[in-house]
C-alpha cells in the first residue's frame, strides 16, 4: 500500500547542514567566509575560506624599493601598522648592518606599545560587540581616539602612518609627545576600570567564555598560534622576551602566560597586556635620549644578496618577514609570516562542538584581522 501522507522525516536536530558565515557577516570582522556545518546549533566543523581581499602584497613588494615596502606592510594588519613597519625596518637595518640611534629605538618601542594598546582596545570593542554588548564598542573607540590623536600629532595620520623608515623615523616626535602619552596613560588607567566593570566582571560574559574553545599548549604550538591567543594556552612565544628588539631588553615587563587556553584566558591575556604595555611605556617615556631621529642612510638601499629573516611581536602574534635579496634595490622575494593566518587555522580545531554563539566569541577572542590573513 502506498503511503498517502508522506510525512517528512528529515530532522533538523539530527541532520547536518551548512551555513555560510560571511563573506558578509557581522562577526567575521571583514570579508572572511566560514563554511560552518551545524547540527542544530552545534558546530560540527568549519572551513575558513580566505582570499576575498587578497591584494598580492608579497608580489607587490618585489617591484618596490625597501622604503616603499613600508607603506604596504601598513596595510596588512592595519591595527598594528607601526609594528609591521618595524619588522621591515629591522630587517633592512640588520641586512645593511646599520646601527640606529638610541633615540629611534626608544621612540619605536613606545610607539609600538601604544599601537599595541590601540589594537587591543579595538579588539575589546569588537569582542564586546561579538558578545552582544554594543556599548563596549563605543567605550573602546573613545579611548582609542586618544592614542590616534597622539599618532596624528606626531606623524600626521591616524591609522596607517608609514612613519618608520629603514634607519630611523620619517620625522621626529612632536614636542608634546611625552606630555600627551603620560596624560593618556593616566587617563586610560582610569578608564580601563570601565572595561572591567562592563565586560570582564560581567557574569554573563564569564559564563559564556569560561571553558569554551579550549586550545591546549601542544595544539597551540602545532598550529603555530602565537601572540596573546597562543600565550593563553601557556605557549611562551613573546618575541619581545625571546628575541628582543628595540629596547625591550632594557625594560622590565612580564610575559603574561595563561594556563587553560579558553576564550576567557585569551580575553584576559589582552586585558593584561594593555596594563603591561602601559608599564613599558611608563618606563621609557621619560628616558628618551636626545639625538638624531634617523641614522645616515644611502639614498638607494641595496641589500647584500642573501636571505634575511626578522620577527617582531605584533599585537596579534609573531610577525615574521622573510626576504631574499639578489643585491638589487628591490627584494627578489618577500614573505610575511602573518600571525592571523596561523591563528585562524586553529579555529576549526577549537570550535568543534560549541554553539554558534560560542563560535562568534571564539572568533572574537582569536582577534583575526582579515587583510592580514589574505595579504
Amino acid at each position: 500500500m502506498k503511503e498517502v501522507i508522506n510525512l517528512p522525516v528529515k530532522n533538523v536536530e539530527e541532520e547536518e547542514y551548512h551555513i555560510n558565515m560571511g563573506p558578509q557577516h557581522p562577526s567575521t570582522h571583514g570579508v572572511l567566509r566560514l563554511v560552518v556545518s551545524l547540527q542544530g546549533e552545534i558546530v560540527k566543523s568549519l572551513k575558513p575560506h580566505c582570499g576575498y581581499i587578497h591584494r598580492g602584497i608579497e608580489k607587490m613588494c618585489e617591484k618596490d624599493t625597501y622604503p616603499q615596502i613600508i607603506h604596504l606592510t601598513d596595510r596588512m594588519d592595519y591595527l598594528s601598522a607601526h609594528i609591521n613597519n618595524h619588522a621591515v625596518c629591522l630587517l633592512v637595518e640588520k641586512a645593511l648592518e646599520v646601527e640606529v640611534p638610541e633615540r629611534v629605538k626608544y621612540i619605536r618601542t613606545i610607539i609600538d606599545e601604544l599601537n599595541r594598546i590601540a589594537s587591543h582596545q579595538l579588539w575589546w570593542c569588537s569582542f564586546g560587540m561579538d558578545m552582544g554588548g554594543l556599548t563596549c564598542y563605543f567605550y573602546g573607540l573613545r579611548d582609542r581616539e586618544k592614542i590616534l590623536d597622539i599618532f596624528e600629532e606626531s606623524f600626521g595620520s591616524r591609522l596607517l602612518h608609514s612613519s618608520y623608515t629603514p634607519g630611523g623615523l620619517m620625522m621626529d616626535i612632536h614636542p608634546d609627545f611625552q606630555k600627551n602619552v603620560k596624560a593618556f596613560i593616566k587617563y586610560f588607567r582610569k578608564k580601563i576600570r570601565d572595561y572591567d566593570d562592563l565586560l570582564t566582571g560581567n557574569m554573563i560574559m564569564q559564563m559564556r567564555t569560561k571553558g569554551v574553545g579550549l586550545l591546549s599548549k601542544e595544539d597551540a604550538i602545532s598550529y603555530g598560534v602565537t601572540g596573546p591567543s597562543g600565550r593563553a594556552s601557556g605557549f611562551s612565544c613573546d618575541v619581545r622576551k625571546h628575541h628582543p628588539y628595540g629596547v625591550y631588553d632594557k625594560v622590565d615587563f612580564r610575559e603574561i602566560l595563561g594556563t587553560k587556553g579558553d576564550t576567557f584566558e585569551r580575553y584576559m591575556m589582552r586585558m593584561n597586556e594593555m596594563h603591561e604595555s602601559m608599564r613599558i611605556i611608563e618606563q621609557l617615556i621619560d628616558n628618551i635620549p636626545a639625538g638624531d631621529y634617523s641614522a645616515k642612510m644611502k639614498a638607494v638601499l641595496k641589500l647584500p644578496a642573501g636571505e634575511y629573516y626578522q620577527r617582531v611581536e605584533a599585537s596579534r602574534g609573531e610577525l615574521g618577514v622573510y626576504c631574499i635579496s639578489d643585491g638589487n634595490k628591490t627584494p627578489y622575494r618577500m614573505k610575511f609570516r602573518s600571525p592571523n593566518f596561523s591563528n585562524l587555522s586553529a579555529l576549526d580545531h577549537i570550535s568543534r562542538g560549541v554553539k554558534i554563539a560560542d563560535l562568534v566569541a571564539i572568533g572574537g577572542s582569536l582577534d583575526y584581522v582579515i587583510p592580514d590573513i589574505d595579504r
Binding site: 533538523v12 547542514y17 551555513i19 557577516h25 557581522p26 562577526s27 546549533e41 564586546g128 560587540m129 561579538d130 558578545m131 552582544g132 554588548g133 554594543l134 556599548t135 563596549c136 564598542y137 563605543f138 567605550y139 573613545r142 562592563l198 565586560l199 560581567n202 554573563i204 560574559m205 559564563m207 559564556r208 554553539k355 554558534i356 554563539a357 560560542d358 562568534v360
Partner: protein, 362 residues
C-alpha cells in the same frame, strides 16, 4: 459635558450619550469602535515612533554619544524620516519563500501587540475594554506574537532566520511561564485580575511597596522575563546581530520590516505598562502615608502623566539592560529560566500567599 484630565469617565459617557441620541444603536456602537480603534492606532504609531527615538537617544547617552541630531531639533524627527524611508523602500521578493506566510507573519506580530494594548488602562476612564480577566487576557494575547516570529523565520527560507525562529520559540514559550507566575504573585495580593480594580487597589500604596519583598522579587522577575519575552537584549537571541545577522527578520525589507520593528517597541511598551499598572500603581499618584501636603501635590499631576512616567521609567530600565549586558547563550537562557527564575518564582508565590493569608501586607 464635564471634561477633566483627572477623570475621563464623564467625558466618555458624554460621547456615548451623544452618539446614542443621534444614531441608531448599531451605528453608535460602530462609530464608537472606530473612534477607539483610530485613537489606539494613533497612540500606537506615535508611541512607536517616539520609542525608537528614545531608544537611540538613551543608548547614545550611555555610550558617550549624542545620538540622532540632524533631522529637526535634537533629531526629534529622525524616526519619522526613517519611517518615510522604510515606506518607500522596495519590498524584496524572496523567490523560494512561502509567500503567503512570509507576508502574513509581520501582521500576526503587530496584531498581537495591538490586541494587547486594548486592555491597558491609561488613566481613570481612559480604558478601551475593562475585562474581569484583564491580566490573563494580556498574557493570552501577547503569546500569539511568537507565532508571527516562527512563521517569519520559517517562511523566509533562510537558515539564519530558521535558527532565529527556533531560538525565539524556545525562549518565549519558557519565559511566558515566568511572566505569568510573577503576575500571579501580585494577583494574589490584589485579589483580582481586572486592571481597573488592580489600579484602584493601589490607592493607598503601590503593590511593590504593599507586598514587601515578594512583590519586589516578583517585579524583578517580571522585568527580566518580560525583557526576554519581547526579544530584547540581553535576550535578543532571535535576532542576535553578531551571530545570525538579523535572525528571523533577515529577509524582510521596507514596511514589512518596519512592522516587526514597531511591534518590538510596542511589545516593550505593553510589558512596561503592565509592569507600571500591576506593580507601580498604574495611573495612581505616588502617596506617602500621612504627608497630606505632599500627597496633594502628587494628586495635582494628571493620572495620564503618572501612567506615562512610570511606563517610560520601566522602558528606560529595559533599555539600560540592553545597552549594558552582553547577550546570553541559548542554554544559559534556558538555565536562567528553569533553574533560577521558575523555582524562585514558585517559592515567591508561596511566600506571598502566606503573607496575604496572615494579613501582613499593608
Amino acid at each position: 459635558m464635564n471634561f477633566s484630565i483627572y477623570d475621563f469617565t464623564s467625558f466618555n459617557q458624554w460621547i456615548d450619550k451623544f452618539l446614542n441620541d443621534n444614531l441608531p444603536a448599531f451605528w453608535a456602537v460602530a462609530v464608537e469602535m472606530v473612534i477607539i480603534g483610530v485613537a489606539i492606532l494613533l497612540f500606537y504609531a506615535l508611541v512607536g515612533l517616539f520609542l525608537v527615538y528614545a531608544e537611540r537617544k538613551v543608548c547614545a547617552f550611555m555610550q558617550n554619544r549624542v545620538g540622532p541630531n540632524r533631522v529637526g531639533p535634537y533629531g526629534f524627527f529622525q524616526t519619522i524620516a526613517d519611517f518615510i524611508k522604510l515606506m518607500l523602500k522596495e519590498l524584496i521578493y524572496i523567490k523560494n519563500a512561502d509567500q503567503l506566510l512570509f507576508n502574513l507573519a509581520p501582521f500576526i506580530v503587530i496584531i498581537a501587540s495591538f490586541m494587547a494594548i486594548a486592555a491597558i488602562p491609561f488613566a481613570k476612564g481612559l480604558h478601551a475594554i475593562d475585562f474581569d480577566i484583564g491580566v490573563l487576557y494580556v498574557i493570552a494575547v501577547s503569546s500569539l506574537g511568537v507565532v508571527g516570529i516562527l512563521l517569519a523565520g520559517w517562511s523566509s527560507n533562510n537558515k539564519y532566520s530558521l535558527i532565529g525562529a527556533m531560538r525565539s520559540g524556545a525562549q518565549i514559550v519558557s519565559y511566558e511561564l515566568s511572566v505569568g507566575l510573577s503576575l500571579i504573585t501580585i494577583i494574589i495580593l490584589a485579589g483580582t485580575m481586572q486592571f481597573s480594580e488592580i489600579v484602584e487597589g493601589q490607592r493607598d500604596g503601590w503593590f511593590i511597596f504593599k507586598g514587601h519583598i515578594p512583590a519586589f522579587i516578583a517585579f524583578i522577575i517580571f522585568l527580566i522575563s518580560s525583557t526576554a519575552e519581547t526579544n530584547r537584549g540581553p535576550f535578543d537571541l532571535a535576532e542576535a546581530e553578531s551571530e545570525l545577522t538579523a535572525g528571523f527578520h533577515t529577509e524582510y525589507s521596507g514596511i514589512k520590516f518596519a512592522f516587526f520593528f514597531l511591534a518590538e517597541y510596542m511589545n516593550m511598551f505593553i510589558v512596561a505598562s503592565i509592569a507600571a499598572t500591576v506593580f507601580l500603581g498604574g495611573w495612581m499618584p505616588f502617596h506617602v502615608g500621612s504627608w497630606a501636603g505632599f500627597n496633594h501635590v502628587m494628586d495635582f499631576i494628571p493620572p495620564f502623566v503618572w501612567y506615562i512616567g512610570k511606563t517610560f521609567f520601566v522602558i528606560w530600565v529595559m533599555m539600560w539592560f540592553k545597552w549594558t549586558f552582553p547577550r546570553l547563550r541559548i542554554d544559559q537562557l534556558l538555565t536562567l529560566e528553569w533553574k533560577y527564575l521558575l523555582p524562585i518564582n514558585l517559592v515567591n508565590i508561596l511566600i506571598m500567599a502566606f503573607i496575604v493569608l496572615m494579613g501582613w501586607h499593608f
